[in-house]
């Protein structure tokens, strides 16, 4: 060897040594059967937490007695003896580090080092600690398992309801019954009363007939899980559906099997979903194993870049890592850098540049888009510049490690933790998982809280239950709670119930179901505190009860209708009176109690009244159980909700038959009496007039007396006429003679007439009307005369009486104002009532109290309005309007 080449070798050895020492992978070389540590790099020293001087040239297992008992000595010996390299993945080692024994995981490689004779001289050990990613993955796996259980529980919960049901009878399995879900599943065919083979011929050969035959024969229940079945639905689809099903024989009284109850649910979706997951998991596993195969022991690729020539040297693994052919030798700078994502490249270059200036190693993580499959891989690149004597950087060497999996594991761990806690936090209901504790006879004794969500405390009032038993938390807990959950755990039957705990002073709505894959003692409890609801319900019930008692004890008939007038409740009096049952009265059934002459009118009237949101009154006859119709006064009051919408109507019907009869009798009496009175009145008046004719020429005094008598008779006549009108109004017999007439003229006439009767008052008219009015001229004049004569009557001191007339939009308004005695406002509503008289005035003013009643009735019949304003001592104003 010449000097130059030996120098070259020396130089390259030095370079290699430097590289080994700096490499981020732990590297050591052990020599001979005693495993003497000959070379050890910095990383290895860090890993072992030793100083080079402590261990160099010493036997490995003297330095690390604790490792001797583990697998490593055997493995090293094997490599030494056989010369076959050994690669370990994620091997656990107990290391005495940081003052403790720790479990660390390593990917490592024992590479035999051969001498010229081909004998094993020593072993190169490279190792890379993967503890972090192993631990991370273990946490994910544990979490995945937990999530899986959670999903299972929820799934159980949501699919509790039995879905597909059929009853097959006899040995031929004839469909006796199939629920809609079953029919839908099988394509809505006409299957009832057909044998299974007739109804669903495609079933033959799928194995179900045989199962059914066996169940029929043995009476033993068969349960199938996720069993594929193909139904010919007629839509051309032949995809199997997956069913969980039970075939359960049922027997007649003699114990002979009669048929089979089919109880199934379609679990295709779950099965398919799981299959997809399994498929993708398999693919993933394949990929992983492929990747593992294709990477070497420590997953480390090495590289070197000549700064002058830009020539690149890559290890075979590095080629693979980048997605190039393992054996490719022509790799250039461009091949390397074009795969690095630009954003990452920029950051990495910054670090490299910094390292160059500072003469320090750099470490940068970046993503590459692998050349062969385009997959994104995360690469950790570690390297260092080597400088010549002049301090010029000559080469940049380093390693690349694919850390994609580790990164992914970190992300997954984070994501799955978030998902899990989100699920629990978001639940509005309380949720807990409990473990039931049984005695030796399987009697539930107590239960332990394993999990509880944040809402648990709000709903139960129990804080921090996890890890404690219910008897610890609530010593006085009612026994039945433990029994209920115990039963769920023992039978596997989910239970949905509402119950009360005296001890917690709360009502709960609970859904409890067993978590099947966690042994037979874990129960998930989903619950809500419904105490408030219960209280409200109970107070409503109570007040309803009170109302009913009250409503049933009153003399009136009473009822409640919804907003549309649909009556849904009547009191007992109603049923007693009508002799009808609730069923007969339902809804519009009350028509049955109306008189045929009235029913149409009542329905039409009340239809309008329900629409308005005001209380109203109606009078009509109702049929008694014995067929007699009696008159009732109906009051209906609307009950409104917070938004002012009518929630319901409360009504009463008061028997007014007796009043009605009395009134009718009275009206009839008045009618006859007043008519009868007219005859003697006529006679008296006639004779008085004849007398006046005789006297007018001679005896002045006698004439005066006769005239007075005549006036009295005139007054008597007008009173009798009023009485007659009232009785006619009552019987609805007041006749109207409708025509178009000059309203203004009629008013003027009335004013003139009244002016003639008084010298103390001055009647003035303000305004006038040009529009003709449609109505009964005579009746309307009667109204004017009534108002004017009242004004005169109630202003005895004499004063102005003002008639104000104005045309408004669509209306004409007339008012008559006096400055007389007036009245207090409390009378204003009543003065239009029949026979109403203002008491204070009764002594001083004559009258029957019916003039205004007649006037208002007439105005109302003309679709007008009448009202009054008044003040004691200041006079009154009476208004009426008439439509134009």
């Amino acid at each position: 060897m010449d000097k130059l080449s030996s120098q070259k070798i020396e130089k390259s050895e030095a370079q290699l040594r430097s590289f080994i020492f700096q490499a981020p992978v732990a590297i050591s070389v052990i020599i001979g059967p005693g495993f003497i540590i000959e070379i050890v790099n910095k990383k290895q020293l860090e890993l072992w937490q030793k100083e080079e001087a402590e261990i160099l040239h010493k036997p490995l297992f003297t330095v690390f007695p604790e490792v001797k008992s583990q697998e490593f000595e055997r493995l090293l010996t094997e490599v030494y003896v056989t010369g076959v390299p050994f690669t370990g993945k994620e091997i656990a080692a107990q290391l005495f580090r940081n003052g403790n024994f720790e479990t660390a995981y390593f990917d490592f490689n024992y590479q035999p080092m051969l001498n010229e004779r081909g004998e094993v001289e020593g072993i190169i050990v490279t190792s890379y600690e993967v503890t972090q990613s192993v631990v991370a993955r273990e946490i994910i796996e544990a979490n995945d398992k937990r999530l899986g259980q959670e999903r299972k529980s929820l799934h159980d919960f949501f699919t509790q309801a039995p879905a597909v049901l059929a009853i097959l009878k006899g040995p031929e399995h004839v469909f006796e019954f199939a629920n809609p879900a079953y029919l839908e599943l099988t394509g809505n065919r006409d299957i009832i009363n057909k044998t299974l083979l007739e109804a669903l011929p495609e079933i033959a050969g799928q194995g179900f007939i045989e199962l059914l035959d066996n169940v029929y024969k043995t009476g033993q229940t068969f349960t199938g899980k996720e069993t594929p079945v193909v139904f010919a639905k007629g839509n051309g689809k032949t995809d199997p559906v997956f069913m969980n099903f039970t075939y359960q024989a049922f027997a007649n009284d003699e114990g002979d099997t009669e048929g089979i109850l089919v109880f199934a649910y379609d679990v295709s979706e779950q099965v398919n979903a799981r299959k997809r997951i399994e498929e993708s998991e398999t693919a993933m596993r394949k990929m992983t194993s492929y990747l593992k195969l294709s990477t070497d022991s420590a997953n480390v690729g090495t590289w070197s870049l000549n700064m002058q020539t830009h020539k690149v040297e890559w290890s075979a693994l590095h080629n693979k890592m980048w997605g190039y052919d393992e054996h490719r030798t022509e790799i250039d700078y461009e091949d390397w850098h074009k795969l690095i994502l630009p954003v990452d490249k920029e950051k990495a270059f910054e670090k490299v540049a910094e390292a160059k200036v500072n003469h320090t190693p750099y470490q940068a993580d970046y993503y590459i888009k692998r050349a062969n499959d385009g997959e994104l891989r995360c690469i950790r690149s570690i390297g260092k510049y080597h400088y010549n004597a002049e301090g010029v950087a000559e080469t940049l060497t380093g390693i690349s490690i694919d850390i994609t999996d580790q990164k992914k594991a970190d992300l997954q761990l984070k994501a799955s933790e978030e998902k899990y806690s989100e699920l629990f936090k978001r639940m509005d209901q309380g949720f807990s998982i409990i473990e039931i504790m049984f005695d030796s006879a399987n009697k539930p004794l107590n239960y332990l809280f394993i999990e509880a969500n944040p809402m648990f405390e709000k709903h139960s009032g129990i804080a921090n239950p996890v890890g404690k038993t219910i008897r610890e938390l609530v010593p006085g807990i009612e026994e039945r709670w433990i029994q209920i959950y115990g039963k769920v755990a023992l039978t596997g039957e989910a239970n949905h119930f509402i119950d009360h705990s005296e001890e917690l002073n709360r009502w709960f709505e609970v859904y409890a179901f067993r978590l099947q894959d966690q042994g037979n003692n874990k129960v998930a409890v989903l619950f809500s505190d419904i105490t408030e609801q219960r209280k409200i319900e109970e107070s409503i019930k109570e007040s309803e009860e009170q109302f009913r008692t009250f409503a049933n004890s009153i003399q009136n008939l009473a009822w409640i209708a919804n907003g549309e007038g649909w009556i849904y409740w009547y009191n007992q009096r109603w049923y007693d009176y009508t002799g009808l049952t609730f069923e007969e009265m339902q809804g519009w059934g009350r028509k049955k109690v109306h008189h045929p002459d009235h029913v149409e009118n009542i329905v039409a009237l009340s239809k309008d009244l329900w629409k308005k949101d005001e209380a109203f009154e109606l009078t009509f006859p109702l049929r008694r159980h014995d067929g007699e119709y009696r008159w009732f006064l109906t009051h209906a009051y609307p009950v409104k909700d917070a938004n002012g919408n009518i929630e319901r109507w409360i009504g009463t019907n008061t028997d007014i038959q007796e009043q009605k009869t009395k009134e009718e009798q009275k009206d009839e009496f008045i009618s006859i009496a007043s008519h009868e009175m007219k005859t003697p009145l006529t006679t008296a008046k006639g004779y008085l007039e004849l007398l006046l004719l005789l006297l007018s020429e001679g005896n002045q005094t006698a004439f005066l007396y006769a005239n007075k008598a005549n006036q009295a008779v005139e007054r008597l006549n007008s009173l009798v006429t009023e009485l007659l009108d009232v009785s006619k109004i009552q019987n609805g017999k007041l006749d109207y003679n409708i025509s178009m007439f000059n309203f203004n003229e009629m008013v003027d006439e009335a004013i003139e007439n009244i002016q003639l009767t008084t010298k103390n008052h001055s009647l003035q008219k303000i305004g006038s009307s040009v529009s003709p009015i449609k109505g009964d001229k005579h009746r309307l004049q009667q109204v004017m005369i009534n108002l004017l004569s009242n004004a005169v009557k109630y202003s005895p001191e004499g004063e102005k009486i003002i008639v104000n007339m104005e045309e408004q939009i669509g209306n004409i308004q007339v008012s008559v104002q006096d400055s007389g005695v007036g009245m207090s406002s409390r009378h204003l509503d009543k003065i239009f009532d029949r026979y109403y008289r203002v008491q204070e005035h009764a002594v001083h003013f004559q009258g029957l109290g019916i003039g205004l009643h007649i006037a208002k009735t007439i105005i109302q019949r003309h679709e007008g309005k009448m009202w009054a304003e008044s003040e004691t001592g200041k006079g009154s104003i009476f208004y009426f309007t008439l439509p134009l």
Partner: protein, 119 residues
């Protein structure tokens, strides 16, 4: 020749009053308190005007007027209705009466109505 007036009313006092008034105005008056045999009454008396109360036994004034108007021989005789009923105006139209006198009446209205319709 004096005009003849036939008055139907069930009240004897009213009939007497009417006679007292009408005789002062040179009318010949016959009064009856039942209208059941109205056609023979007319045949006997041959009135120029008939004054008919509405509330009169047995058949009532309206029915009696209907009978008069149904017969050719009596149809043209003017009939005035005579009542305390407030709807007298409408009834008079309905039964085809030539006029009406509302009870109680003033002597002047009474005489005027009869004089205007006596033909």
């Amino acid at each position: 020749m004096k005009k003849k007036i036939l008055i139907y009313d069930d009240d004897k006092e009213i009939l007497l009053l009417c006679k007292a008034i009408l005789s002062r105005y040179d009318f010949v008056v016959e009064t009856l308190s039942k209208c059941d045999s109205i056609l023979s009454d007319i045949k006997t008396f041959k009135p120029d005007v008939i004054l008919m109360d509405l509330w009169i036994p047995q058949i009532g004034g309206e029915k009696a007027i209907e009978i008069i108007k149904q017969h050719e021989s009596t149809r043209q005789i003017p009939v005035i209705i005579f009542s305390a009923n407030a709807d007298i105006k409408d009834i008079s139209k309905k039964v085809n009466a030539i006029g009406y006198i509302e009870k109680p009446f003033t002597v002047s209205t009474f005489i005027e109505t009869i004089q205007n319709n006596v033909g």
